[in-house]
């Protein structure tokens, strides 16, 4: 039975075939069985590990004739199985949620097929035993991300958002491929890589570490590559929750944790990771304060929290990074899905200036959003976010005193943007900003509907948008107890990632950070925008510049593309004759 665990990534695939046949009639109604099976297999594997037995690897030798025999390996160790269980749990909740959210969409079969592609690729990425196998899943989740962002392709802006995601992902894929190419012969698995790094026998270790980290930055929207993630919010909300906050963007952190032994022996790259993470964390927080759009505000929050995980990776605390990945997946998926409940109830309105006072009419979404927000700011003892953030803060303080202090201060920033979004959505009066200057002008998906007719009536939320989120809410509150007290997670990861010594449930540092976060949360109420904010340019200057450069090159070469077949044939015949003549006349 445990032999099946390495094959878990195949489970969502039958539902694609079913969807192609148009079954079941309510699209995707049984698709959740795929991720549920993944969750079951992952828990089975973890139980097996807990009994002190291993879970067998899967090797497909010679699956492509030009590859060596070790090319395709899945290796379900503690880290992979923990991540797999997380992916299975979050995906199952979001699949059920999407049944309600996509209720009125005609293309539900296509939507769930894309989601299945994503879950299968993500599971393969997680289970991969070496970089080659990981790359297959890595490229697969990038493709799924593109397909799902552009799912509502007829709406303006979605296709360019998908193209941005695809372009940045291509940077990451290329970096990962280069890392595989320069990896020395004989290093066929992550275990070999860790052993070689620890022994100091890994050649080109700085270059390999740099390439792997660039790949992780691209996937996790860090540093200059951040911009695709806020744009990706053009996709449906279940996609934002599952791919662009909880699992896919966390794949970069997962890769960083996987190759943390290489980072440990490459101090320069570690410093780069630390500074990029720290910068992105602050930048994401500040940008979140400037957003008018609920989903984009949450997206910048993801950018910021991922930055915090990279800070943990940079100071050599991969366990803390992974722990925060787990709790973040729960509370950020919860925030996105409950925000989606609000957006659904308002017929697609995403601007917080057109919300407000919704806690009475949407009590379910309100409660879930509040739980997610409190976990995000790290309310001590009660929430999971506090436990994992505390571990990062402790590690940072241990590493460098100033870094710990900076991170604790950032807790206030986190609190402020979480509070701002929460109070703007659920408190105050309805549509408090819609009558300000420019209120109707700022664009969003629902802009066309909203303009002219003022605010929408709130229609009653369906149970599908609330009940599937209850497991996520329990996760956002209780995932902290996976590690403190008891150390369940560090025992599961033993042998893969070194865990720090156990910390108590409440630390002084945690209380201080929690208090600052709460203060920021209530201060966030003062920052609720009185009127719509004109959106800043979404693309950084260097992206625009490279886009302009390609446009220029395209203009220059356009003269060659006349569209006249005879011209093309002439060029072909002349070129072929020249080539043959060259070969024949060569001495």
């Amino acid at each position: 039975m445990t032999g099946l665990v390495g094959w878990a990534w195949l489970l969502p695939l039958p539902f694609i075939v079913l969807g192609l046949l148009g079954l079941p009639r309510r699209g995707g109604a049984v698709s959740f069985l795929g991720p549920l099976g993944v969750l079951g297999l992952a828990l089975l594997g973890l139980a097996q590990l807990g009994n002190g037995q291993g879970v067998p690897d899967v090797r497909i030798d010679g699956f492509l004739p030009f590859l060596p025999d070790d090319a395709f390996v899945t290796h379900p160790d503690g880290l992979a199985l923990s991540m797999l269980a997380l992916v299975g749990l979050v995906s199952t909740c979001i699949y059920l949620y999407a049944l309600g959210y996509m209720e009125h969409d005609e293309n539900r079969h296509r939507f769930f097929a894309f989601l299945d592609v994503f879950v299968a690729s993500m599971c393969l990425l997680v289970l991969a035993g070496n970089l080659t196998t990981l790359l297959i899943g890595w490229a697969g989740v990038g493709l799924a991300s593109f397909l799902l962002i552009g799912f509502w392709w007829e709406r303006p802006g979605t296709l360019s958002a998908g193209a941005e995601a695809l372009a940045v992902n291509a940077i990451g894929d290329a970096a990962l491929l280069l890392a595989i190419v320069i990896l020395p012969v004989g290093i066929d698995s992550f275990d070999d890589l860790a052993v070689a790094a620890r022994q100091g026998s890994l050649v080109h270790r700085d270059l390999i570490a740099l390439l792997l980290i660039v790949a992780a930055f691209a996937k996790s929207a860090q540093g200059p590559l951040y911009f695709w993630l806020p744009s990706a919010m053009a996709g449906p909300t279940p996609v934002s929750a599952l791919l662009h906050s909880a699992t896919m963007v966390a794949a970069g952190v997962y890769l960083g944790v996987r190759v943390s032994p290489v980072l440990a022996v490459s101090p320069e790259v570690s410093r780069l990771v630390l500074w990029t993470g720290l910068f992105t964390m602050g930048f994401g927080g500040v940008m979140s304060l400037r957003q008018d759009n609920l989903k984009k505000g949450l997206a910048f929050s993801s950018v910021s929290q991922l930055g915090m995980m990279f800070v943990a990776l940079g100071i050599g605390a991969p366990f803390a990074a992974f722990f925060h990945l787990v709790t973040h997946a729960a509370f950020k998926a919860l925030l996105f899905t409950s925000a989606g409940g609000v957006i659904h109830a308002l017929d697609g309105e995403e601007r917080i200036t057109h919300m407000g006072g919704l806690r009475k009419s949407l009590p379910g979404s309100h409660g879930l959003f509040l739980i997610g927000a409190l976990s995000l700011i790290g309310l001590p003892v009660l929430t999971a976010g506090a436990a994992s953030k505390d571990l990062i803060l402790e590690s940072a303080l241990h590493h460098e005193r100033w870094l710990g202090i900076v991170l604790v201060a950032m807790a206030g920033l986190t609190g402020a943007y979480a509070g701002r979004l929460y109070f703007a959505t659920f408190h105050g009066s309805r549509g408090h900003g819609s009558r300000g200057p420019g209120g109707e002008a700022s664009g969003s998906d629902a802009g066309a509907n909203a303009a002219g007719q003022g605010d929408h009536a709130v229609h009653a939320p369906s149970g599908w948008l609330v009940w599937p989120l209850v497991p996520l809410a329990f996760g956002a509150l209780g995932f902290g107890f996976l590690e403190v007290p008891g150390g369940l997670l560090s025992r599961a990861l033993a042998g893969v990632v070194d865990a720090p010594e156990l910390t108590p449930v409440v630390t002084r540092l945690g209380l201080v950070a929690g208090a600052i976060g709460l203060a920021g949360f209530f201060a966030g109420r003062l920052l609720v925008p009185a009127r719509s904010i004109p959106l800043p340019a979404a693309r950084p200057a260097w992206v625009q510049a490279s886009s302009d450069a390609f446009d220029f090159l395209a203009e220059q070469t356009l003269a060659l593309h006349t569209g006249r077949t005879s011209r093309y044939l002439l060029v072909t015949v002349v070129t072929a004759s020249l080539a043959v003549g060259f070969v024949l006349t060569r001495p």
Partner: protein, 100 residues
């Protein structure tokens, strides 16, 4: 002139004629015929080489190439017919909407 060089010269002439038709003509039928001519010329070279080497293997290859040419003609005619049905005119340079 030996029979072999006669064969080769014929092949070159036929090939050039086919290439010229390919470049000059605009009617897809003529283009297709030009391509077929070029293919036949290559097959002629194959047959000639069979004579030179005294083995039948290149004659087998020639038979395969003939089948390939037939398949190509079927597809090409099908495409030409589809274009003709849509436009009621068969000028290939007319059909350049794909450019923009």
């Amino acid at each position: 002139m030996t029979p072999i060089s006669l064969l080769l010269v014929t092949a070159v002439v036929v090939f050039t004629l086919g290439a010229a038709a390919l470049v000059q003509r605009r009617n897809p039928m003529s283009l297709l015929m030009g391509a077929e001519l070029m293919l036949s010329a290559s097959i002629l070279v194959l047959v000639a080489s069979s004579r030179v080497h005294g083995s039948a293997s290149s004659q087998g290859a020639a038979l395969l190439a003939l089948v390939l040419g037939a398949a190509e003609a079927v597809i090409g005619l099908g495409l030409a017919l589809a274009v003709f049905r849509n436009r009621a005119r068969v000028d290939l340079d007319d059909a350049s909407e794909v450019r923009r």
